[in-house]
């Protein structure tokens, strides 16, 4: 039986209000902030650090990108083929619809959310500058796309080594493929971000990206087919300049030893290829400039 002891309650039971504590630690600069925003955006592009629901679509698309590569590899290994049934450089061209879907779903969520919920002023009231924000978002989108298109190439390359194909051949093809998808990632990422950033409405962004990627590519192909049917073969390579997909196709045909997907295989030669490359670089620079302009108005 406990004895009742009068007096105040023991001091230990009191809840202490520790009050406000000042932050004395380090404040890391712009480079750190840029890195943080980059990694947050890159993770976000695959739904990491977001709700379970938002992981579904990017993960399904990522799997869809990898499955054909795995099947190709399985077939090649099983049949002991001398080479892969498809080129590294043509993989991303074949999988354009998946890449388009991925861009349409992820580019708007990366930029439209900040615009739509007016979070952008919160960023610009912090130490970072506009260029930091645009660079981080641009780099994150391009990296996400590079992961999406590069991993299947890695699978193909690993499979080719498993099937004991010629190493130097495969390594060269793999390298060319990586350069090609890297260029494509930056180009497509830039275009998609611009389209997504032009409207705070996510739906419009999705529609605009799908439309831009597919309509231009279909239109260009149709015109090229007409040109071939009318025997105007020399204009085919020029029309390729008018859609992002055919631009990449042209660049890799001219410089990366790819087989052109143009009608009749009428890809550009080195001369016209330079124009293709310059167009791609100009589009990338243009995307960056448009994004910078877009956020000049969005700040506060």
């Amino acid at each position: 039986m406990s004895t009742h002891t009068p007096g105040p309650a023991p001091e230990t039971t009191r809840i202490h209000n520790i009050g406000y504590r000042n932050y004395e630690g380090r404040r890391l600069g712009r480079a750190y902030v840029r890195r943080s925003l980059y990694s947050q955006s890159l993770r976000g592009a695959y739904g990491l650090g977001r709700s379970a629901k938002s992981k579904v679509l990017p993960m399904i698309l990522f799997a869809l990108m990898c499955v054909p590569a795995a099947i190709v590899v399985a077939v090649a290994v099983a049949t002991k083929a001398k080479g892969l049934p498809l080129e590294y450089t043509s993989y991303a061209i074949f999988t354009q619809p998946i890449i388009g879907l991925y861009l349409a779903s992820q580019a708007p969520q990366s930029v439209s959310r900040d615009l739509r919920f007016k979070t952008v002023p919160l960023y610009f009231s912090r130490p970072i500058e506009r260029s930091d924000y645009v660079l981080a978002k641009f780099a994150a989108m391009a990296s996400a796309l590079f992961i999406l298109t590069g991993i299947p190439l890695v699978i193909l390359f690993a499979g080719s080594l498993l099937a004991k194909m010629d190493f130097s051949d495969q390594a060269a093809g793999f390298g060319q493929g990586l350069v090609s998808v890297a260029l494509m990632s930056v180009l497509f990422g830039g275009i998609a971000l611009v389209l997504a950033a032009l409207t705070p409405r996510r739906g419009f962004g999705v529609a605009a990206i799908i439309a831009t990627l597919t309509i231009t590519s279909v239109a260009v192909t149709v015109i090229q087919e007409i040109a071939r049917a009318t025997d105007a073969l020399d204009v085919i390579e020029w029309f390729g300049l008018f859609s992002p997909t055919t631009l990449i196709d042209g660049v890799q045909t001219a410089f990366l030893g790819a087989v052109s997907g143009f009608p009749g295989g009428q890809g550009p030669g080195t001369g016209v290829g330079v124009i293709y490359l310059l167009t791609v670089l100009a589009l990338i620079a243009g995307s960056y400039a448009v994004l910078m302009r877009r956020y000049r108005k969005a700040g506060l």
């Binding site: 380090r26 007016k118 919160l122 130490p127 506060l300």
Partner: protein
């Protein structure tokens, strides 16, 4: 804290700021102005986000034209508009914003937990922001402005959209930012009345130029209009009229006009409070008539009253009453049994 020298901001068709010169010291400062008076433009310039057309400004001793990033590192900003994504939790959002201010990951999480607790968000901080009430959202917005422990916070209309209770809580919180956290505050509002309770100093701007800058007590000095509402009784079927007669007899100046357009406006007497004794006179008169006092409160100033010609003169006239005015909080609480909490609260400021 903030110094501006003939700061001007001209757009092609509008002049947002017109040679504004300010010197704002530490403490809580209210920036009052009607919509479009240039408050937001001033904040934008102070954050170093848009260059002024002419003039200079310095925040925390740093020039806004050259050290924008250094200023923004030590300043917090709470925008007027909604700025929260609905699909993340308050914790996730504030942690991210802390990192965007340059705090290392571990410190960002720790500061977020601290700050959300200080602004009064507890268990709900793990739920998505989309489900929050307006008051809770305002707290999250405030938390993201405070999370990096700035030396100065700029709060743009923090009481917008809040109900009276939420408004009082927010104003109390703003007061604590200075008294407990040691952070100076610049808070904008278009209601002078709500700022006089919170701020040490009030700056009024209109049309981009300085209208008035003085300590809060100078402003309250001219807040001498008293609103009194009484009940009727069998003895005095029109209690308001009876009181009016009695008060006039007692030598108290009554404003001719009543408030229009408000419910029960005809029953509210507006009178000049010459000093503390006026409150006593009103109390005694009401008690003497046997009426119930529904409310007795100081009329809150709206920005328009500062513009009213003679407003400043009235203030000068009443300079002697300043001390008396500051003592109004001591007016007895209960008058004639029906004194309401509302009236005493309003006086206590």
């Amino acid at each position: 804290m903030i110094v501006t020298e003939s700061l001007s901001m001209r757009y092609p068709r509008v002049t947002a700021l017109d040679r504004l010169s300010l010197d704002i010291g530490p403490g809580v400062t209210g920036l009052v102005g009607a919509n479009g008076a240039g408050k937001s433009t001033l904040i934008k310039i102070l954050l170093g986000l848009s260059p002024a057309t002419e003039g200079r400004a310095a925040v925390l001793g740093l020039d806004v034209a050259t050290s924008g990033a250094a200023i923004r590192e030590q300043v917090g900003y709470m925008p007027e508009h909604d700025c929260l994504p609905p699909d993340v939790s308050a914790t996730e959002f504030v942690v991210h914003m802390a990192r965007m201010s340059g705090l290392p990951p571990a410190a960002a999480r720790e500061r977020t937990a601290d700050t959300l607790r200080h602004v009064g968000l507890y268990e709900e901080r793990y739920r998505p922001i989309g489900g929050y009430s307006t008051g809770m959202k305002q707290r999250v917005k405030l938390a993201q402005a405070l999370v990096h422990d700035p030396r100065l916070v700029l709060l743009d209309e923090p009481t917008n959209g809040l109900d009276p209770v939420g408004r009082d809580e927010m104003l109390g919180l703003i007061r604590r930012i200075h008294t407990d956290f040691g952070i100076s505050v610049l808070v904008t509002s278009h209601l002078l009345g709500e700022l006089e309770r919170t701020c040490d100093h009030v700056v009024v701007i209109d049309g981009g130029s300085l209208l008035r800058s003085s300590s809060t007590s100078d402003f309250t000095r001219i807040t001498t209009t008293l609103a009194v509402e009484v009940t009727d009784s069998d003895e005095h079927p029109d209690g308001t009229a009876a009181l009016r007669d009695k008060l006039t007899a007692a030598g108290i100046t009554l404003h001719a006009g009543t408030e229009e357009g408000l419910p029960g406006a005809g029953h509210v007497l507006l009178l000049e409070a010459a000093g503390e004794e006026t409150y006593d006179t009103v109390r005694d008169t009401v008690a003497g008539l046997g009426l119930g006092l529904v409310r007795m409160e100081q009329r809150r100033h709206h920005i328009a009253e500062v513009f009213r010609p003679g407003g400043a003169d009235r203030g000068a006239e009443r300079g002697v009453d300043q001390a008396a005015d500051q003592a109004v909080g001591q007016v007895p609480d209960q008058v004639a049994g029906q004194g309401t909490d509302q009236s005493t609260e309003a006086q206590a400021r």
